[in-house]
């Protein structure tokens, strides 16, 4: 029983990332009809927003400490971040310690800007082209973005820490009456799950309870009619692209303490997130979220040693197997609209 609970919890954080990325993908596909293969790169850029802010906060000047020596026996050079000079060392340390959550504030405008530039600068020229063309151009864009990040930050993963208040793990087993240490779960992964729920709720509330959201939903259902009513739906869809980019970026920012950012991390998530979108139902926002969590948990269960021993390699292919079955049995996905992808 403990193992099952632990695998569910482990699946939740991965599922949260899948759900957030798939949510953005679905928003873009539902509004603009574009299959955006650069969406994983937006997740990666979000993660590097956290790295960038962390480095900016650590920007330092060198002080030579004559009382200590370095590994070569020379007087030791100590780097002192400027933020210590401005805020005092205790507060400066605290700000650096909290750089990942603080990066949310930094990432939101950056990601919206990147999203809008991507949509206006490139993707809008491919609205009337085939999905194959859209896939090619967005995939090419993803590679360009990856290489830019690689040129600036190098190829190696960059370790990022959670704030020290969230270092350590939570004994979930004790809470539900199991033995001590039987179900241990890191605090930050709980934070990530909670954060993703807040973001998902915010996106749904925005679409459901605001006039802007109502127009976007109407545009998703019947773009032409909304246009005939004199509403500039293109402008709203551009903003939606920016919001989708921000959602992917925030997913990346908060994932950095779980997985050290590297230039290729978006590709790993992109392919799985597309499977999530297909399983959830193309264009269905609730479907994307549901499928994200379901497949994350399923992947976690498939990695249990008893499962892998029974069916070797199942953990690597389980998501694709499920996608194949869903496409065969219910081509429109779990919550897709009737008729979509069924011809």
């Amino acid at each position: 029983m403990e193992s099952i609970i632990l695998q569910i919890l482990t699946g939740l954080d991965k599922g949260s990332a899948y759900a957030l990325i798939a949510l953005g993908l679905t928003l873009i596909f539902g509004t603009l009809g574009v299959v955006n293969f650069a969406h994983g790169a937006l997740f990666m850029i979000g993660a590097f927003c956290a790295v960038t802010l962390h480095r900016l906060l650590q920007f330092s000047h060198v002080v030579i400490d004559e009382t200590q020596t370095d590994f070569l026996g020379n007087p030791r050079k100590i780097e002192v971040p400027y933020i210590y000079d401005w805020l005092g060392e205790p507060l400066g340390r605290a700000v650096i310690d909290w750089s990942v959550p603080l990066a949310i504030l930094f990432a939101v405008p950056v990601m919206i800007l990147i999203g809008v530039i991507m949509e206006r600068g490139l993707i809008k020229h491919f609205y009337k082209r085939s999905h194959a063309d859209q896939i090619l151009v967005t995939f090419g864009l993803a590679i360009v973005l990856q290489e830019i990040i690689k040129a600036f930050y190098g190829a190696n993963p960059i370790p990022m820490g959670a704030p020290s208040a969230f270092v350590g793990s939570f004994d979930f087993g004790v809470l539900v009456g199991f033995d001590v240490n039987s179900v241990i779960y890191p605090y930050w992964r709980l934070v990530y799950f909670g954060f993703s729920m807040v973001i998902i709720a915010a996106v749904f509330a925005f679409l459901q309870f605001t006039t802007f959201g109502m127009v976007v939903r109407a545009g998703m259902a019947d773009r032409e009619t909304v246009g005939l009513l004199g509403i500039n739906i293109d402008k709203r869809f551009t903003i939606v692209f920016g919001i989708a980019a921000a959602v992917a970026g925030l997913a990346g920012v908060m994932y950095t303490p779980i997985l050290s950012p590297n230039y290729n991390m978006g590709m790993d998530f992109l392919v799985l997130s597309f499977v999530v979108v297909v399983v959830g139902g193309m264009g269905s926002l609730p479907g994307a979220v549901l499928a994200g969590f379901l497949l994350g948990i399923l992947q976690s269960f498939a990695s249990m040693s008893v499962v892998v021993e029974t069916i070797p390699g199942i953990n690597q292919v389980v998501i694709y197997l499920v996608a194949m079955i869903i496409l065969l049995v219910r081509p429109r996905g779990l919550m897709g609209r009737k008729g979509v992808m069924e011809d």
């Binding site: 695998q7 590994f71 190829a155 370790p159 793990s169 240490n181 890191p186 990695s303 040693s305 892998v308």
Partner: protein, 458 residues
């Protein structure tokens, strides 16, 4: 009136004979030179000779690869007489005088293996065929090393392996053109077992997470052999993909497995991630079977320790070399301080064991060329076989002729509890002498292959 005996025919005969006589020494020495310096792949022409450095610059082992490249650059500088000379000053052989190799200036080309066998072979092939590399060195993955070693054997160039730790590199996949300075998983098992017994006892249950390729399999086998001989029980072994990133789904079952030791047969970025996540999931604070749960990392490095940060504290592992070894254990490891001084001055931080092994391999190759008096790979191989040397930081070392494996002391280390600076992360706790680390040529884990014959190529 005098009469001259010179005729046009006589003059031509005399001229030809004189010319041939004057040219004789040149023709003679030229023939010898030609024999020694042709008839093999990429025989150097002109006044330069090109080395090919094939290292991972991307992927899970990129940190090690970039440090290897730094060391290679330094070695080339020292061979050409630039810089402070590094370990050339301490090396037991004195053939290298900083004037290049056999009168030629050493240049190099580099490639990115991407920690991928196919990419590594393509990169090595390009350096041999397009750039004319006389030798290939580098690599931070045994899968890559074995693949490139096979390519070099076929192409007729020497392969001086970099960081490759699988038994197979000088075991079932050994080749006559391939040489390994780095130690292997058998040596790690021999070195670690007594330390694990002394610190954790004989009654332990181990769970292995293993990188799913030749090195991981080899490391797991060696660790199982030596820990099971102590009396430890192996509860489970799970293979994990290289570069998995998130190991949480592999780590979560460990706590319920009944194990009280987790052996992480991971390296580089994979080890940093798996160890960090194991600590995040509370494994090091667990009590299992009435004992403190513990983690072992059989193959260690300072670079990984830097990536893992505080999570590495108190964890045992083994290394081929450590930059502090001469300061801690004295003159036996001479060469270490000279290399650290040289590398640290150029790059601002101490070298990793990957850097040291690659620097040593470049120097050993160059020395073998000088002793052989030729770049012919078969002459170089003959010079390396059975070669005893010292002064490259590892103490007295033998390049065993039968398998092209170096035998030297093995360093047992532990993550330092209270580091004094950002480079002081690893503490040397023991040395396994070369005699103890040496295994017989017919060891069962190294069977199934043979060196074959040296291939000079063209």
């Amino acid at each position: 009136m005098s009469k001259s005996n010179f005729t046009r025919r006589g003059l031509m005969k005399t001229g030809a004979a004189t010319g041939a006589g004057l040219a004789m020494p040149t023709i003679f020495t030229g023939a010898v030179w030609s024999a020694a310096h042709s008839g093999f792949t990429n025989a150097p022409q002109g006044d330069t000779v090109t080395f090919g450095f094939n290292v991972p610059q991307t992927g899970a082992y990129a940190d090690e690869g970039l440090d290897e490249l730094r060391a290679f650059e330094l070695a080339v500088e020292h061979l050409n007489g630039q810089g402070d000379g590094g370990m050339l000053q301490t090396f037991s052989e004195k053939n290298l005088d900083g004037t290049g190799l056999l009168g030629k200036r050493v240049t190099f080309v580099s490639g990115d293996t991407q920690t991928n066998s196919d990419a590594a072979r393509a990169s090595a092939r390009s350096m041999i065929e397009k750039d004319g590399a006389i030798m290939i060195s580098g690599g931070s993955s045994s899968g890559v090393a074995i693949a490139v070693q096979g390519l070099c054997q076929d192409a007729g160039v020497i392969f001086m392996a970099g960081l490759t730790h699988s038994n197979d590199t000088t075991g079932k996949d050994r080749r006559a053109n391939g040489f390994r300075h780095f130690f292997n998983t058998e040596m790690s098992g021999r070195a670690l077992a007594p330390i694990l017994e002394a610190n954790y006892g004989k009654d332990r249950k181990a769970y292995h997470l293993t990188a799913d390729y030749t090195w991981g399999w080899s490391q797991e086998k060696s660790m199982r052999t030596y820990t099971e001989a102590l009396g430890w029980e192996t509860v489970n072994t799970v293979l994990t993909p290289v570069g998995a990133g998130d190991f949480s789904s592999y780590i979560t079952p460990v706590a319920q497995s009944g194990a009280d030791v987790l052996v992480l047969n991971h390296y580089g970025g994979d080890m940093v991630n798996s160890l960090t996540q194991a600590v995040q999931f509370g494994l090091r604070s667990l009590q299992a079977n009435g004992k403190d749960f513990t983690i072992v990392v059989p193959l260690y490095s300072e670079l990984m320790a830097r990536g893992a940060g505080a999570n590495i504290k108190g964890i045992f592992g083994s290394q081929n070399w450590d930059w502090k070894i001469e300061n801690v254990l004295g003159d036996r490891y001479t060469g270490t301080n000279a290399f650290v001084q040289s590398f640290g001055t150029k790059y601002g931080f101490p070298p990793s064991q990957a850097a040291q092994t690659c620097y040593a391999q470049a120097i050993l190759y160059a020395d073998a060329v000088t002793r052989a008096g030729s770049f012919n790979p078969c002459a170089v191989a003959e010079a390396l076989e059975g070669f005893e040397f010292n002064g490259l930081g590892n103490g007295p070392t033998l390049y065993r002729a039968e398998d092209h494996q170096c035998f030297k002391d093995v360093v047992v280390v532990k993550g330092k509890e209270n580091p004094e600076n950002e480079f002081d992360l690893v503490e040397i706790v023991d040395i396994t002498p070369r005699d103890t680390a040496t295994y017989p040529v017919d060891h069962p884990d190294f069977q199934g292959g043979s060196l074959g014959t040296c291939n000079p190529g063209a």
